[in-house]
Amino acid sequence: MSNPILAGEELKKYFPARNGTIKAVDDVDFQMEKGEVLGVVGESGSGKTTLGNMIMGIYPPTAGRITFKGEVLPSRAKDRPIQLRRDIQMVFQNPASSLNPRRSVRQTLEVPLTATGEKSVRQRINELLETVDLPVEYADRYPEELGGGEKQLVAIARALATNPSLIVLDEPTSALDVSIQAKIINVLMRLKTRLSLSYVFITHNLSLMRNVSDRVMIMYLGKVREVATTDEFFRNPMHPYTTMLLSSIPVVTEAEEAVKPQRTQSVGEIAGALNLPPGCSFNPRCSYALDVCKEVDPPLIEVALGHWCDCHLYPNEYKKT
């Protein structure tokens, strides 16, 4: 990737806890191109939301740096120039709690517009509502008068208000019904093309990622375990954790059943973030664990072109030279 819009280098975020340190994100490297949808997938506690929050400058990283359009991002949002803050926006998981119930849609959308010095606020609000397929009359409604999907569309309109080029989507549809999810995703994908946006799409839903992302990045206990383009990822999932994840997905059609890996069945639970197992953090649940897995954490290596995986099963001869 020659000219990434966003890249993280050796990113770490540790939280002090009463009896130890929680390594929420531990040495994560990633890159994404302009116009790309990068799917960040993992279970609860995998560090995916922490990663999103670091991109937004909500948490400063403990170590490492994030570059955006070739320049290092100041780690805290308040240290970022206004242009940068405009350029990176976020949509949160639960629209019921990310919208202020005391503010009408108009008042909600006014905040980012006035903060960035927009002149024709009224007209821009109408434009924004049209962009996300909501009737302009909705400007004077309050969140309680909207359905869950409509609330999320307002949250998307709010993120678009500053004309960003990168949006961090943190589980934007997981609080919604599947019939509504489809609508939100379609709006998001249409906007991406129309406004040439890039998305960091954080989710636990791999079926959804199959259909929206260009690349998938699997996280487990703060580490990236596998990265590949979506087609390659689903054709040839490599990491044992990935195959376990894929085999656990409840699917609807026989065709989907056929593409699920059959050889791995889900066992065990994600380890506590305070007592990470030594070596590869997945080894207690892994049915292929070798002795070395309990001692050495494998490095992320390029196993096939553009397909990175950190697992001792994939030997060194594949290692990028």
Binding site: V178, I180, N186, R210
Partner: protein, 325 residues
Amino acid sequence: MPLLEVKDLRVHYSVYEGVLKVLNGVNLTLEKGEKIGIIGESACGKTTTVKAVMRLLASNSIIAGGEVKYAGEEVLKMPKKKLSDLRRKKMAMVFQDPSAALNPVFTIKQQLYDIIKFSASTKLSKEETHETAIKYLKQAALPEPDRILESYPFMLSGGMKQRVNIAMALVSANELLIADEPGTSLDVTIEDQVMRLLKKIVEENGISVILITHALGTVKNFVDRIYVMYAGMIVEEGPTKEVFNNPQHPYTQMLIKAVPKLTGGGVPEGILGQVPSYLSPPPGCRFITRCPYRMEVCETTPKMYESGHDQKAACFLFDEGHRSK
């Protein structure tokens, strides 16, 4: 005689704004040893239906009509004593949120012992109670049951809490287990484990199951028959395989189509609009506001029409007179 028979059940809720007419004539039957699933979007009356079966409805609910027969006996008018026997020995429920279903200020031991003592027919000694508790925890595949007994809920992970809830339900669910979204709040790998465990237990013990979920994939691998619910009405019923491979009602078709597929192919359109308000629901078919095939006749209530393959759908498209369209 079926184990459970719900006939034309109508449940309303009285709220400040008026009366929410939620269940609008729900019919379902469950044979002994059978596993059925109720699927549909949020707020379609799935939980209200099973709460009526357990007689756990909120105090502002009004049973406006219908009957619930458990092994031939009317549950809705059952005297307290008898109902209590039913809940002690026959049926129990696993709730959606495992954290909310456990009391945070008591240990698992205190909570599980209570249930064991409640459901036992004779007075149990301390040792017997303990043994029974260990037996059920082991059945729910919980490692180190002795440690679990001494734990408070916050000391356990979500998956373990849900297993504890399953163990508690199994104490009383000798005939019928109602599982209301048992895996929804869990991670996908844990949900997979919990559902596989649950299926194994109920099949080994011949327990009948009503599984409620909005996750279509989960229900597909679990149940024998499916009821699809929309806005307080059963719109389709049939064998699981048929409903998934050959959905009849427009709602079922659109719902299954809206699920993003692991095989790719993009995200489909979904179902525009939302579930109608229960304050003044449409008088006829309640799906009329979102249905692409709506006709004039849909303003009257459709009955369940046979649509082949043992399936039934509450839609006028399956009525001979209207099929021309």
